[in-house]
Every structure is written in structure tokens, then in C-alpha cells.
Symmetry: C3
Subunit: 274 residues, 3 copies
């Protein structure tokens, strides 16, 4: 199933308008190209809405945010919603500063987001003081582990239901959920934490996947997460003993470039809970 979703990305070659941070923009562009999509980076409010209108999908990543970038995101988000372009939000740094957190809340209030892709800390910073009744206070750690997985799965599903969108919360185990179902994915490897922006890259990939498959957004978000994890596994297999995180970064993107539907389906390791 995930292979079919990838196949569609390659076929439709979605153009993704990325408003993203300067630290990982190059990797995000290259991973989009590797997947079969096409990146257009533009982040000034003077043109962002027009650029969005030219593209098929929108990625909002709040790394290295500033007021101008925020203004561009708001304009692009509005147009994307009007044109029914899929929108992915990567709330990088939510909780790290008032400006960052409030800006992200503003985006969440103004723009209909199709997938929110982040780590558990970011998701909790944004949504958990409002969801205490769902047992958030009981969450002792910001990691998803085998032990707390049932609890985390329910929490993320509850937030997704409340926010009426899809969440892709990634970590050692990844949970992708909407109100109906949750995918738990066990692909990937721990070395991916040593690559700056592996999360940003995944968010870009997610944008390409859901834009090419708008009729099945939760599955496509799960497919993107799985694709990133499988690419990490393949990248690690090809790593020479003296190679480290910089070569690994390249090999992940390389693996995305070389991935075929059959390999993705064969290596995908996930369960669906309804």
C-alpha cells in the first residue's frame, strides 16, 4: 500500500512550496527531488501567496522563524486553504520561546493544516495543557517507548480528534494518527538523531506524499514516515566504518532517490490500530 503511494508521488511530481528554515533548506530540497517531487523555496511576504498558488502543496516549517517568515506563512496558508492545497506544518521549536509558540498557535488558528509533523515535546507544548483530561499529566517523559506506546497512541489520537487533523509524531517509535486510526511505525535507526534536520526532511517528504495522494492523507503521512525510516536503515547498511553522520545524511537522501515501491512495502514495519 505504501509502495502505491510512493508510486503516485513519482507519477504526479508534486510541486511543494516550502517556507522553511535556512539550516536544513538544502536537504529538504534534495529529499523532495529524491522522492520525485519538486521544491520551490520562497519566504518573503511580498510574493509568498503567489508562489503558493503556483504549487500543488505547502510546507510550513518554523525553524529559524522571524516575523517576516511568519507573515509569509500566514499569507501562503490562507491561499493554500482557498485552493485546497494540502498543508503540512512542522512546528519546529514549539515551546522553546514565547514568540515561536505563539506564532505557531496563530498559524494553527488561521490555517487548516492537513498534517502536523513533530516530536512529542513539540506536540505536548502546543496541545497538552488543553488536553489534560486525556491524561497528559500522567506522561512522565517526552519519548514514545514500547512501555508507554498504548498510552501515547491514545493521547495522540485524542489530540488528533480534538484538532480534527492528522498528527505524525516521530521518535524511536512513530505514531501517525487521526481520529479513526493510529499507525505505529518501527522503521528507522537511532543514528538518524545525529543528522540535523532529519525531521525537517521528513516533513518535506510528507508534504510531497500527501499532495500526490490527497484522497488518503493519513495513509500517505504514514507512508512518508515509513519511507524515511526505511531509507535510514538502507543508508546505515551502506555506511563504511569510518563514515559518520555527514555521509549518513547523504545516504538517506540517496536511499529515498533509489527507493522503489516493492522495497518500501517489503521493509515497512508497522501496525494499524483502529
Amino acid at each position: 500500500m505504501f509502495g502505491e503511494i510512493l508510486h503516485r508521488v513519482r507519477e504526479r511530481k508534486p510541486h511543494i512550496h516550502c517556507i522553511t528554515n535556512y539550516v536544513t533548506a538544502n536537504d529538504c530540497a534534495n529529499i523532495l527531488l529524491a522522492s520525485g517531487g519538486s521544491p520551490i523555496m520562497a519566504d518573503c511576504p511580498e510574493e509568498s501567496a503567489e508562489i503558493t498558488a503556483l504549487c500543488d502543496g505547502l510546507l510550513l516549517n518554523t525553524g529559524t522563524l522571524n516575523p517576516d517568515k511568519l507573515s509569509a506563512m500566514r499569507k501562503s496558508g490562507r491561499i493554500a486553504n482557498e485552493l485546497h492545497h494540502p498543508v503540512v506544518l512542522d512546528p519546529v521549536g514549539a515551546g522553546a520561546s514565547r514568540f515561536r509558540t505563539e506564532s505557531i498557535r496563530l498559524l494553527l488558528n488561521e490555517i487548516r493544516i492537513d498534517v502536523i509533523r513533530g516530536n512529542l515535546s513539540e506536540i505536548k507544548a502546543l496541545f497538552c495543557h488543553e488536553t489534560k483530561s486525556h491524561g497528559v499529566d500522567a506522561v512522565s517523559s517526552d519519548r514514545i517507548t514500547e512501555e508507554n506506546l498504548p498510552e501515547m497512541r491514545n493521547l495522540i489520537k485524542a489530540i488528533a480528534s480534538e484538532q480534527n487533523t492528522v498528527f505524525a509524531v516521530t521518535g524511536q517509535i512513530d505514531v501517525i494518527a487521526d481520529k479513526h486510526q493510529a499507525y505505529c511505525i518501527r522503521n528507522g535507526c537511532s543514528m538518524m538523531k545525529s543528522v540535523t534536520g532529519s525531521g525537517c526532511q521528513l516533513s518535506a517528504l510528507t508534504a510531497a506524499f500527501i499532495t500526490a495522494n490527497p484522497e488518503r492523507i493519513p495513509e500517505s503521512a504514514a507512508a512518508a514516515v515509513c519511507m524515511m525510516g526505511v531509507s535510514g536503515e538502507i543508508a546505515q547498511e551502506h555506511l563504511a566504518p569510518y563514515e559518520g553522520n555527514a555521509s549518513f545524511r547523504n545516504r538517506i537522501i540517496d536511499a529515498v532517490y533509489r527507493m522503489d515501491a516493492e522495497t518500501l512495502d517489503r521493509k515497512a514495519d508497522y501496525q494499524i490500530f483502529r
Copy 2:
């Protein structure tokens, strides 16, 4: 001949002031170093003119443009013209937004540009409604192919003549033309489209090449285009079966670093039309 031009770059080590986008700035800097040139990146209007004056040539790349960057470009362009420093313009995204297109027109009006390096869509967006009499309306596609090459060659030569500058229009076949002659170059490989900023990198290389060889600008622009294509071919030869666009990106820059005059001349595949 191209080998001699490369030799001069290595000898003169031109310092290139790059006002460019943040997506591909790192690759542009590394390809400049690989060629024998030296990059200085600075894009704030408070200092751009002074930085330009310290350098030997100027690159203006309009990716991720914003009003501050535009203001820096205008100041730097003026000084570069006063000091007779060669100037390359890469009109990234021309036609994609009013802000982008109008900003580029402003630069074209205010600054004498030595080489304009872009793809056919960008060049047409900027110059073709004014050149309808040259048969632009007949152009059905934005790609240069074997079939439309004679027509495209004449079109680009006509625009170059009208604008009184050198155009380097790159695609499957590259056409570099001024009013007197056109180079048609068939180096490169299709995988280069999968590397973000391969065009930006070529523009940076072009700036180094013409700055080190200011007395023969069209030939030097053609040499840079050829060098990029040959580097792509060499990069592909060294690619392992599991490697993709990220490793390929590195190997292109590596090939520029290792290129010698003899290899460049041997692998160069071009014709000159006068």
C-alpha cells in the same frame, strides 16, 4: 581553449561576491572553491557595496529574494559597474511572482550585467513579450531540444543582441550566445536536474570564469557551462548503484575540484555558430 580559461581561474583565484539564496549558498561556495575561486557571501545593504569593492566579480542570484537582499544587490551592482567588475545575474524564479519579476527587471535596468544565466522559462518570462517579433510566440515548449535548437539558438542570439549582453541558457542542450555567436553545448546528464541548485552552482562557476577571463566573456561563460556538464558526467561515472542525488551533488563539486585543463578540453562537446 576552455582548458586555458580554467587554467586562468586557478591562477588568478578570483574573489566573487555572492548575493544569493540560502538554499544553495553552501554548494555555491564549495563549487567556487573547487574551481579555484573564492566566495564571499554577504547580502545586507549596510555593507554590500563595500564587500563588492573588496572582490573581483559579482554574482546576483534572485532565489529567496526579499526587499533587503534586493537593496543589497542594487548597491553592489552599481559599485561593480563603477569598478568594472564582471557581473553575473541568475534570475531564479523570474515569472513566478510579480515581486520577483519586477525586482529582476529593476536590476536589469539599473545594472550592466555581463552574463545572464538561466533556464528558458526564466529568460522567456523576462524578455519574450518584448521580442515577439523574433518568433517567441511560436515557441511551444520551454525546453531546448534537437528539434527546436536552430530556432532557440536564433531566439537567444536575438535577445542577446537586443540586450547587448551574453546569455547562458541551460537545459538538455545549453545555448550560450552574444550578438556575434552561439555556443551549443551537449555535456551534462539528466540526473543533474535532481540536484537542487545545480543551476545556482553553474552561475557561481560562471562568475569565477568570466572574472578571471574578462577579455573573453562569451567563451568563458561557455567554458563554465561545459565544465559543469563534464563534471556531471564524471560524477555519474563514479556513482555507486545505491547512491542517488545527494552523493551525486558532492561528486559534481568533487569533479570540478579535480578537473584539469586537458580533461575539460577532451570531454567538451560543443559547436559554435556564428
Copy 3:
């Protein structure tokens, strides 16, 4: 001894707030991760102080400086000083423009800096008209060589004493000095000059090293410089004949990732002058 310092970085995993340029930000982030540290990039004045407070150390790199970034640096510097977080300044481009030089002087006046990491030209642009009495006028070149090493060592020690901080001046031979002592380091290789931002990366590494070892700052700065040089040597050993500066860049970061204390101590090539 340097191995022990590295060991502490791996153990303490310092979070470094980097306010840095967009050209090399990705490499700085990846080298920090490779060393065991963790980068947080944020450069807007609306949030920079809060981000600094969340981290353990601060890196100020003045590449692609602009007024907003400067304002963020001033706010972050003030908080870092209040919280006794170590601060590294990389005065990229000092002397290249009035804006750059004056902005750096402002930072030096307002913020207590623990280590200033730059090349000899930058250090001279900032400090040498005030230190003429130390023989600066006699310095004919901006390179540290075997011939002028004793003179340079004394000069840098004198400036360090006057400014009451640690200087890490890097080049063919590196000199790290405070008022009491000077380390002269001979690791590294000439190809490192062909990698954009190798200096920026070293400054990031230095921030991680001194933040994890705040009780021995000069030694830790020297260890970072040595680590970078040894990583360059190891990177060169693994370079295929067709590989150039782009692959070399990755292999340096890879070598940092794989470095162990024993290898660092074994390959370290330095002398201490008191």
C-alpha cells in the same frame, strides 16, 4: 588530556545556541551533533534571549550579518553572561566592511567572550591598531608560519592578555593563547582551506568543547582546534583519488563523529609555551 576533554563533551552533550550565517549553518549543526553536542539555531531578536537561556553555551558567528541578527546577538550575549554560559565569538569578515567591523566591536564591548576564534586577518583588523606597541606593524603577512611563529605567538598572547580572554587564531599553524600560555598546533592539512566554513565549523566545535569543560577553557579551545585538524587528516586518508572538497567536507564531519579520545591524544601534535 584532549581526549578527556572530548570525553566530557560526549558525556555532557552540551546544547549550543548558534547565531550564525546561513552559508555554513547546516555543517555547523552536523559537526556539533558529530561531537556529541546539540545545536539550536535561532537568530531573531524576538526570541534569541529565551533560546540562549534554554541552552548551555552560545556561539556568535558574524557571517552574513545583518542588523536583526546583530540585535539577536546582543540580547543573547547579555543573557549568556548573566547565566554564566560560555560564549564563543567567530568574527567572520572583521575588517571587510565598516558595518561588520563596528558590529563586532559592539559585541566585544557589550559581551564577555570566552573564546575568540578567527584567522589572523580578522584578529588584526579588530585588535592590532590598539596593540601597535606589541610590534604589530612589523607583521608583514597575515599568515602564521614557522618563521614568524615566535613573533605571532607573542603577539596573540599579548592581545589575549590585553583583552583578558582566550584567542584561537587558526591557519597553517594554529595558536591558542590566553595571558598565561600559548598552544601551537600543527594538525590539519592544506585541503581544509578548500572547504567553505571549516572555520565556522571549528568555532561551533569550540563552543561545544568549552561549554562541556568550563573549568578549563584554554585547554578545551586547544582541544577543539586539534580535533578539527586531526579530523582533517583522517578525512584526507579516506579520500578516493576522484574525490574533492565536497566529499572531504563530509569526511571531516564523519571523522569528528567517529573520533575517540585515544585517537585524538595519539594524533594531537602541539606544544605549549608558558
